[in-house]
Amino acid sequence: MPMTAPAPLSQLDVAADLLTLLRDSTTEPRPDSQLEALTLAVAADLPVLLWGEPGIGKTAALTQLAAALDLPLTTVIASVHEPSDFSGLPVVGDDPATQGVPMAPPDWAVRLVRAGRGLLFLDELSTAPPAVQAALLRLVLERRIGALRLPPGVRIVAAANPRSSAADGWELSPPLANRFVHLQWTHDHETVVRGLGGTWPRATLPQLDPRKLPEAVDFARRAVCGLLAARPTLVHRLPTNETGRGGPWPSPRSWDMTLSLIAFATAAGSARDVLSSLVRGTVGDGPGLELLASLDRLDLPDPEDVLADPAGAVLPERGDLRQAVLDGVVAAVRARPDRARWDSAWAVLVRALETGAPDLVVVPATTLASLRQQDWDVPAAIERLAGTVALSRRADRAAVASKARR
């Protein structure tokens, strides 16, 4: 007769309870500009390469991204695969001489193609042997696995460790680096501490606004063409020094990618910081910053509009931008001088003086005064600018005093 004793609570069950408690965490909405940048690049269907130290949360971010885009996530750890897993396994048939040797794709690729959509995450790209990397790059860039072609609904993201920490130091050759959007993945100390305490951030992901699409494309084209028309040398510039190798650099291909990214960021109404990391990750720091600077200038009010309505003009708060607008107004008057425009420019300067720092007005006022023609009377507004003359003289005296004290 079997003995019936109360079944002891199995250790594994207790462990399972503990695990449930540990996993019990909540989320809170928090803006996350790196995740937003990643989402936009993936939405724009550009190959993204995440650079980040191991264990920094790249996989967690991808899980969140897949959930947000409603795509099934397939993770492939590149370093544990063989090249044939990506280029296709050669299967010898009955009559190779006439039928050829088909390259059979692996099961996950077949499933992806059958589903027609999904997010493919190629992790640990940099620790895979060179032959595997070569096969993977064909997958990333041509979207081919053996005989299969990935459907357009599949988006690909790769991750790599930075050069300094990669054990066997793979690095991108310049042609390959040029095809990726490079995003640096870093951890935010506060987020990690709060997350381990039980509250992980839930990023609010960008939403493309269907009404903004034509305007976004127009803006992106104006931004990129405006810069490249003025700076032809920025169109193509191969990295020459050792420091710039393996990173983003400008070429017609990467400028084309930049154009899409600007359009996507504009349609989603993203902040400049997000656009900044995308653009600098595509064409590199220098050209990227030049583009962003020219975007800032695109945002400034048109000098002609300011001249047409000095009273209603909104001058930027930031001093350097404000001075750029005032210089632009004076330059517009110089280009097409007439009495009404000259008077109008004085009104603009008075307005600038009343709403901001006086030293910004000195140089434009001096230039504008020099544009006066003989039959033009001095406008009454100039009286109110007398203070700037005093300011300028005071600065002159300080210059003399500085020389004397040397």
Binding site: L89, R163, L289, L292, D320, A395
Partner: protein, 416 residues
Amino acid sequence: MSTNTPEEGGRLDRDKLFAARLHAARARPYLATALFALHTVESKQVPTMAVDRHWRCYVSPAFVDRMPVEELAGVWVHEVSHLLRDHHGRGDRVARERGLTGVGDRLRMNIAADCEINDDVYGDGLVAPEGAVRPWRLRLPEGQLMEEYLSGISFGPLTLDLSWLDCGSGADGLERAWDLGSDGADGLSEQERDAVRFRVAQGIKAHPGDTPQGWRRWAEDAFHPPQPWRDLLGAALRSAVSGSGAGDDYSYGRPSRRSAGVPGTVLPSLRRRPPRVCVIIDTSGSVSDGELGSALLEVAAISHAVGGRRDLVNVLSCDAAAGVVSPLCRAEGIPLVGGGGTDLRTGFEKALRSRPRPDVVVALTDGQTPWPSARPSCRTVIGLFPRPGRSRARRENNPEYVPDSPPAWARVVEIG
């Protein structure tokens, strides 16, 4: 516009403050963008003038009153220099790396940052404000960086009168009571800060003649901080030895062990072939033993990390004639003979003729040599010891002598 006197409730004399900024912008036109981008905030809590990392400039009305305009201009340039040189970011990094947590440490950072700025921003039309910290006052050398000054600064009689020093969170990264924080109005976003720094750097690069050495160096490095040569040499060497034909790779020479599980398929298998590295050392007398030793050790360590063995690293000393190829495991006794003129071409020839052939040739040299005219048959990394003074001396002695620059087919890493 009315001029405020301190009697009227101690209001800020804006005219004086902005006249000083105008003078500063005229004296340092390349900093004008940055000076104008600063957003001024009147604050009675600030002892003097201080900046935060969002490019706000907090100004004490009493301080403006007691400073002459020409000294105030110097303060403007000083404060904006903290921001341009990213002292708050660098301060945070140093604090993390060296485990500095105290308020006193942040004050030392502020003093060190002031030393970095003050040794080259004044003069040439700009007066140093009363009591500005100069490196010589702390018995420190001029021309160093904040990080270097920091280790030389300790509290004592020399720094007794500096405890009032406070340039704000923009100078050392520590939040102050008066800071408006990241949510406050009119701060610059990270992207805007980068854009301003970039424009200033571009302006300096466009007119390098008008700017002092310290600012030119800053402009060169502002967006491409120099990387440690060990990392660069390591990356170059690793990518050379892990390229096809060396190290681990797949080969169809023998079938994969997985083949048994997938009948009918032919799979490659992973085969290991440790990379062979040959180091050519320029012993022409111009490279010091210390430099050579550290570079050589680095090469050995890297090649070990990628799976090479010490006995697969060969060393060849070379001046005008090549020495003998000897394995590194006997490197302690390698005679680094030479001292004459350099011709690395013989070294390359000898290295490539050695059997078994190297996968990678690393040349450690100061570059004062003719180079092989054609690309060698294996990957090449050149570790270059910079020698600006020496090359000039040589050219003066022998005007016809023009050293060739390292060829385009090699990966060149500047060492030191």
